[in-house]
C-alpha cells in the first residue's frame, strides 16, 4: 500500500489521494439510504422534521469527518488522554445534571444538539485504550499493574452510564473496551473469570436493575407474555420484518411503519422499517454495505505502522460490528430490547457524531499509516 513517507511534507492533494474512497463512498451511500429511510418514517407524521435534521447532520458530520481525516494521527495520539477525560467530565455532568427523558438522564442540552456523552464515550474508550496499549508489550499486558489501569478506565464510564440508566450503551462501552484489551493480548482466562464473576453477580445485578429493564429481559425471554405491553415492540418489529418478504413492500409502502405500529421507528427500529420496505434482499445488501465498511476499517488497521492506529482501527472495527449486530439481533427478537442505535442509520446526533469522529480517525490512520509514533 502506498502512502506518503514521514520524511518531508506532502502536498494536500497527495493527502487527498490517500483517502480510502471505498470507505468514503460506502459511508455516503449509507448516508443516502439512511436519509431515505428517515423520510419514510416521516410520511405518517406529515412533516419532515426527522429526515431534514438527519440529512443536515449527516452533511455536517461527513464534512467534519473529512476534515478530521487530514489531521495527523500523532495529534490524536497525544490528545487521547485529554479526550477521554473531557468526555468523562461531560458524562458526569450529563449523569448528574443532564436532561432527563423518560426516566433516563443522559443528555446535555447544547442548543444545536442534545449531546449524549455516553455515545462519545464509546469512541473515547477505544482511543484511550489504543493509546495505552500502544507501548505495552504483550508479555506485560497480563501483569496486575498493566491490567488495573485499563480496568479502572473502563469500569468508571460503564458504571456511570449504567446509573443513568442506560443498559444498552453501557454494554456497548464494555464490549468496545474489552475488544481492545483482548486485542492487546490479555489472557483469555481473565475474560473467562470476569465473565464468571458477572454470572455469579447476576442475581445481584438484576436486583439493581430498574423495573423496566427487568421487564425487558423477561419480555425478551417470552415476548407473548404481554403482547400489548412490553412485548409489543418485539412482536411488532418481527411482524414488520417478516411481512417484508423477499423484496419488501416497497419504498414508503411499509404499513407497519406508516400506520405507527413500529415503536421508535426513527431510532432503534430504523432497520425494521427499512427491512419491511426493502425485504430480505434490501436487508442483506445493507448488511453487505456495513461489512464493506468494517472490512475497509480492518484493512486500514492492518496497514498501519503504528500500534495506536492499528489498535484503534481494529477496536473500532469490532465495536461497530457490535453496534450493528446488537441492534439487528435486538430488532429481530434475538436479544432483549436494550436501546442501541444502528450506526449512521438511526436518528440521533450524538451517535452519528461519535461514529463520524471514529471514521475520521480511521481515515487519518490511512493517510498517516507510515507515521511512526514513539
Amino acid at each position: 500500500m502506498k502512502s506518503y513517507s514521514t520524511f518531508g511534507e506532502t502536498s494536500f492533494l497527495q493527502k487527498v489521494r490517500y483517502l480510502d474512497f471505498y470507505l468514503l463512498i460506502s459511508i455516503m451511500l449509507l448516508g443516502v439510504i439512511s436519509i431515505l429511510a428517515m423520510y419514510s418514517t416521516d410520511i405518517s407524521d406529515g412533516n419532515f422534521y426527522h429526515s431534514f435534521n438527519h440529512a443536515i447532520r449527516f452533511g455536517v458530520f461527513f464534512v467534519f469527518m473529512v476534515i478530521l481525516s487530514f489531521v495527523n494521527i500523532k495529534y490524536y495520539f497525544s490528545l487521547s488522554f485529554p479526550f477521554y477525560v473531557l468526555v468523562l467530565i461531560l458524562l458526569v455532568a450529563a449523569t448528574f445534571f443532564g436532561t432527563a427523558v423518560s426516566g433516563s438522564q443522559r443528555w446535555i442540552n447544547l442548543y444545536f444538539l442534545n449531546l449524549q456523552p455516553s455515545e462519545l464515550m464509546k469512541i473515547a474508550i477505544i482511543v484511550f485504550l489504543a493509546r495505552y496499549y500502544h507501548r505495552v508489550q504483550p508479555d506485560a499486558v497480563n501483569t496486575i499493574k498493566k491490567f488495573i489501569i485499563p480496568f479502572v478506565i473502563l469500569i468508571i464510564p460503564i458504571l456511570l452510564v449504567l446509573s443513568q440508566p442506560d443498559l444498552g450503551t453501557s454494554v456497548l462501552i464494555a464490549l468496545s473496551g474489552i475488544a481492545v484489551i483482548w486485542l492487546a493480548g490479555i489472557n483469555i482466562k481473565y475474560i473467562v473469570y470476569s465473565f464468571l464473576a458477572l454470572v455469579i453477580s447476576f442475581p445481584f445485578v438484576i436486583s439493581m436493575l430498574k423495573p423496566y429493564q427487568k421487564l425487558r429481559i423477561l419480555t425478551f425471554i417470552n415476548p407473548d407474555r404481554d403482547p400489548l405491553g412490553a412485548g409489543y415492540q418485539i412482536i411488532q418489529s418481527k411482524i414488520a420484518v417478516g411481512s417484508g418478504g423477499l423484496t419488501g413492500k416497497g419504498f414508503l409502502k411499509g404499513t407497519q411503519g406508516y400506520l405507527d405500529f413500529l415503536p421508535e421507528k426513527h431510532t432503534d427500529f430504523i432497520f425494521t422499517l427499512f427491512s419491511e420496505e426493502f425485504g430480505f434482499v434490501g436487508s442483506v445488501l445493507l448488511l453487505i454495505l456495513y461489512v464493506i465498511i468494517i472490512f475497509r476499517i480492518l484493512i486500514i488497521g492492518s496497514n498501519s505502522r503504528n500500534y495506536f492506529g492499528k489498535f484503534f482501527c481494529y477496536g473500532f472495527g469490532i465495536s461497530i460490528f457490535f453496534y450493528i449486530s446488537v441492534n439487528m439481533l435486538m430488532v429481530l427478537g434475538m436479544l432483549p430490547i436494550v436501546g442501541s442505535p444502528l450506526p449512521i442509520m438511526s436518528y440521533g446526533g450524538s451517535s452519528m457524531l461519535s461514529v463520524m469522529i471514529a471514521l475520521g480517525i480511521v481515515m487519518s490512520t490511512r493517510i498517516y499509516s507510515r507515521e511512526i509514533i514513539n
Partner: protein, 640 residues
C-alpha cells in the same frame, strides 16, 4: 519502536493480527446468523407475518344483514324492514367510560335511570362485549351523535335493520317475531352465530324462526385500514352482503285481518284451508300480541302481562292448543262405523232425554238435549247432534276402529310438519294407547264418551280443519302447507282424487276411505245440519248457493257435569267463565263445489251453534268473495 526491539514488535503484531482474525471469523458467524434470521422471518415465515401485519392494519366492520321479507299470497308485505338507529359502545375500547357516558347523557338527554341501567349492564358483562346504549334513536339524535363523534372515541352509532309488521297482531302467531339474538340463539344456530353483529335481530318464534337460514341474509363487510391507535385511515373495500330471501306464504291478509276482527273480544282460533292444495288461507289465534312491541325490546312489564294473561296470548291455539273436539268428532265416528260395516245408516236409536238416560254398568250417559231426540237415524243424529245415538254407534264400533279412521283423517298428528316447532300432536285414544300411556285397561264407558268427542281425546283446531278438508274433498289425502306451490294444478288434483279409488299403487292424493259413498253420506248429513230446520247450525245458514256451506257444531265440556248442575240447567252467564263449554264449528263450502274447509273455536264461548257457527257464516261470505282473486293469482305464473 526502538526500545523493546524488533523481535517483540513482530510478536506483538502477530498477536494482534491473530486475535483480529479470530474476531473476524466470529463476526462472520454472527452476520451469517443475522442473515439466517432474516431469511427465516422474511422468506420462511413471510406468510405468517404478512397475515399478522394485515390483521394489524385491517379492521372489518360487519354490518347487520338485511332480512328477507314475508309476503302474503297476493304479494303484500306482511313483515318488512325498517332502519333502526342504535348507539353501541364497547367499554374496552373507551379510554374513560364515565366521561363518555356523561357526554352522551348530555347530548341525548338521557335520564339517570338510563345511565344506571348502562352501568348495570356494563358490570354484568365482559369488557369486550357491546353495550347497546340506545336501541331507538331518532334521526335527529343519530345525526347529533355523529356530529360530536370526533370527541367521543369508542362510541359507535349503528344503523341496523329492524322488523316492521304492518298488520300488527294479525300475523303474530304465524310469523312469530324477531328480537335480539340471545346466547341460546347463537349456540343453537350456526348461521346466526356466523352472521351475528351486536344489534342483530333474529326470529324467536313461528315462521321467522323456522326460516331463519333463508331470511337472515349475509353481512355487508367494510374493510378499513387503521393505524396503531385504531384510527381509521381509509376504507379499503366494501363487500356487499345479500338480502335474505323473501318468502311468500299462502295466507290472504284480507281474510286474516277479518279473522282477527271476528275474534277480537274472544279467546279462540280460526283456521281456513284449501281442501285441494292444503294451503292455509288464514290461521289466527286470539288473543294475540303486537310483534312490533319486540322491536326495541319489549318492556318487562308488558312481557309479564303477556305471560300472566289467563287467555294466553303467546300461545298459538290453532296448533298448540289442545281441546276436546266435542261433537265435531261425530262425522268421523259415523264414517268409521260405515267404513267398517258396523251399522246401517238406517239403524234406529231412541233418545229418551234426561229422565231416561243410557245406562251402562251403573253409569248414566246423557244426551245434551233435555227432552231427548226420540227415534234417530244416523243422518238425523249427525244433523241434530244426538249424543245417545253416538253412544250406541261407538259402543258397536269400538275405540280402536275409531282411532284408525280418526288418525287417517289427521287427528292426533302434526299437521304443518316443517313449519312450526311448537305444534302439538294431541291424543286420539285406543286401548293400546291407554295401556302404554296410563297403564290401565280400557273401559267401555270411555268408548262412549270418546264417541262424542270427550274424555281422553284431544285435538288442535288445525287438526279438525284438516279432517274437515279431507272429508270435504271426498275423503282424499292432502298435504297442508303454508308456502304456496304454483306447480299445484287444481284440475289435476281433482282428477287424481276422482280416480284414486281402485288404484293398486298409492298416488299423491290417495283415497283415505274404502267407499266414497260413505263420505258423501256424512257430508250430506253435515249439509242437513246447517241447511235444514232442526239442524244444529240452521240459524247460521246462507241460502245463496254461491256461499252455501255445510258444517258441524261442537260444544266441548271442560269439566264433568254433576247431577245437581244438570238439574239447575244454568244459563251461560251464570256459569264461571273458566267452566263454560268451548264452542266449536267445523265447516266446508261452497256446498255444491267445495273448496275451503274451516274450524272456528271460541274458548268458553258456550254452544257451538250459538257462538261458533255465526262466525263461520260471516267468514264464508268473505272467503268466497275473495276466491276469484285468489284463483287469478294461482293461474298467473308470472306473478310474484
Amino acid at each position: 519502536m526502538i526500545g523493546d526491539g524488533i523481535g517483540s514488535n513482530i510478536k506483538k503484531s502477530k498477536l494482534i493480527n491473530r486475535r483480529m482474525f479470530i474476531a473476524s471469523t466470529a463476526k462472520a458467524v454472527v452476520f451469517f446468523g443475522i442473515i439466517g434470521r432474516l431469511f427465516y422471518l422474511q422468506v420462511e415465515q413471510n406468510k405468517k407475518y404478512l397475515t399478522l401485519s394485515d390483521k394489524n392494519r385491517i379492521r372489518e366492520n360487519k354490518l347487520p344483514p338485511v332480512r328477507g321479507e314475508f309476503r302474503d299470497y297476493f304479494g303484500k308485505t306482511i313483515a318488512g324492514n325498517l332502519d333502526v338507529y342504535e348507539l353501541h359502545v364497547i367499554p374496552e375500547q373507551v379510554e374513560d367510560f364515565r366521561v363518555l357516558i356523561t357526554r352522551v347523557k348530555q347530548i341525548l338527554n338521557l335520564s339517570d335511570k338510563n345511565i344506571d341501567n348502562i352501568y348495570k349492564i356494563k358490570n354484568n358483562q365482559k369488557p369486550w362485549e357491546t353495550i347497546i346504549i340506545s336501541d331507538n334513536l331518532s334521526w335527529n339524535e343519530f345525526s347529533k351523535i355523529n356530529y360530536y363523534l370526533y370527541d367521543l372515541p369508542g362510541l359507535k352509532p349503528v344503523i341496523t335493520v329492524g322488523r316492521n309488521y304492518p298488520f300488527n297482531e294479525s300475523y303474530s302467531h304465524v310469523l312469530g317475531y324477531v328480537a335480539y339474538a340471545s346466547q341460546n340463539d347463537l349456540s343453537s344456530n350456526e348461521i346466526i352465530n356466523d352472521r351475528h353483529v351486536p344489534g342483530l335481530r333474529v326470529g324467536k318464534n313461528g315462521l321467522e324462526k323456522t326460516f331463519e337460514a333463508e331470511l337472515i341474509g349475509t353481512n355487508t363487510i367494510q374493510r378499513f385500514e387503521v393505524n396503531a391507535y385504531g384510527k381509521r385511515i381509509n376504507q379499503l373495500e366494501v363487500q356487499n352482503g345479500d338480502k335474505g330471501n323473501s318468502l311468500r306464504i299462502s295466507i290472504d291478509t284480507e281474510i286474516q285481518n277479518y279473522t282477527s276482527e271476528l275474534l277480537r273480544y274472544e279467546a279462540g282460533s280460526i283456521s281456513i284451508m284449501d281442501i285441494y292444495t292444503g294451503e292455509i288461507v288464514a290461521m289466527n289465534s286470539s288473543p294475540s300480541f303486537n310483534p312490533n312491541d319486540f322491536l326495541y325490546g319489549i318492556g318487562s312489564k308488558k312481557w309479564k302481562d303477556l305471560n300472566s294473561n289467563p287467555s294466553k296470548p303467546l300461545i298459538n291455539k290453532t296448533i298448540s292448543g289442545l281441546y276436546s273436539p266435542g261433537s265435531t268428532i261425530k262425522p268421523i265416528v259415523a264414517l268409521s262405523a260405515l267404513e267398517n260395516n258396523i251399522i246401517s245408516p238406517d239403524l234406529k236409536v231412541n233418545c229418551k232425554g234426561h229422565k231416561n238416560p243410557l245406562e251402562l254398568y251403573g253409569s248414566k250417559y246423557h244426551c245434551w238435549k233435555k227432552k231427548g231426540h226420540g227415534y234417530m237415524t244416523l243422518s238425523n243424529a249427525i244433523k241434530q247432534s244426538c249424543d245417545t245415538y253416538f253412544y250406541e254407534v261407538s259402543r258397536l264400533l269400538g275405540v280402536d276402529r275409531l282411532n284408525q279412521t280418526a288418525r287417517k283423517f289427521g287427528l292426533g298428528n302434526i299437521v304443518l310438519k316443517d313449519f312450526f316447532d311448537n305444534e302439538k300432536k294431541g291424543v286420539v285414544p285406543s286401548t293400546k294407547w291407554k295401556k302404554e300411556a296410563i297403564g290401565q285397561n280400557w273401559y267401555l264407558g270411555e268408548t262412549l264418551i270418546t264417541g262424542i268427542g270427550q274424555g281422553y281425546i284431544q285435538t288442535t283446531p288445525l287438526q279438525l280443519t284438516l279432517m274437515t278438508a279431507q272429508l270435504a274433498n271426498g275423503g282424499n289425502k292432502i298435504y297442508p302447507t303454508i308456502i304456496p306451490d304454483s306447480n299445484k294444478n287444481i284440475e289435476l288434483i281433482k282428477n287424481q282424487m276422482e280416480n284414486n279409488e281402485n288404484l293398486s299403487f298409492p298416488e299423491d292424493y290417495y283415497s283415505l276411505v274404502r267407499n266414497k259413498e260413505n263420505v258423501k253420506f256424512v257430508l250430506d248429513a253435515m249439509f242437513r245440519s246447517t241447511n235444514e230446520i232442526y239442524g244444529t247450525s240452521y240459524s247460521s245458514r246462507i241460502e245463496d248457493p254461491k256461499y252455501q256451506f255445510a258444517g258441524k257444531t261442537g260444544t266441548a265440556q271442560v269439566k264433568r257435569i254433576t247431577e245437581a248442575e244438570r238439574e239447575l240447567d244454568l244459563k251461560l252467564e251464570q256459569i264461571p267463565y273458566k267452566e263454560r263449554d268451548h264452542a266449536w264449528y267445523i265447516a266446508f263450502g261452497p256446498y255444491k263445489n267445495p273448496r275451503y274447509a274451516l274450524t272456528v273455536l271460541v274458548e268458553h264461548g258456550g254452544s257451538g251453534s250459538s257462538v261458533a257457527a255465526p262466525i263461520a257464516k260471516k267468514l264464508f261470505k268473505k272467503i268466497i268473495d275473495r276466491h276469484e282473486e285468489r284463483e287469478k293469482i294461482r293461474t298467473n305464473d308470472k306473478l310474484i
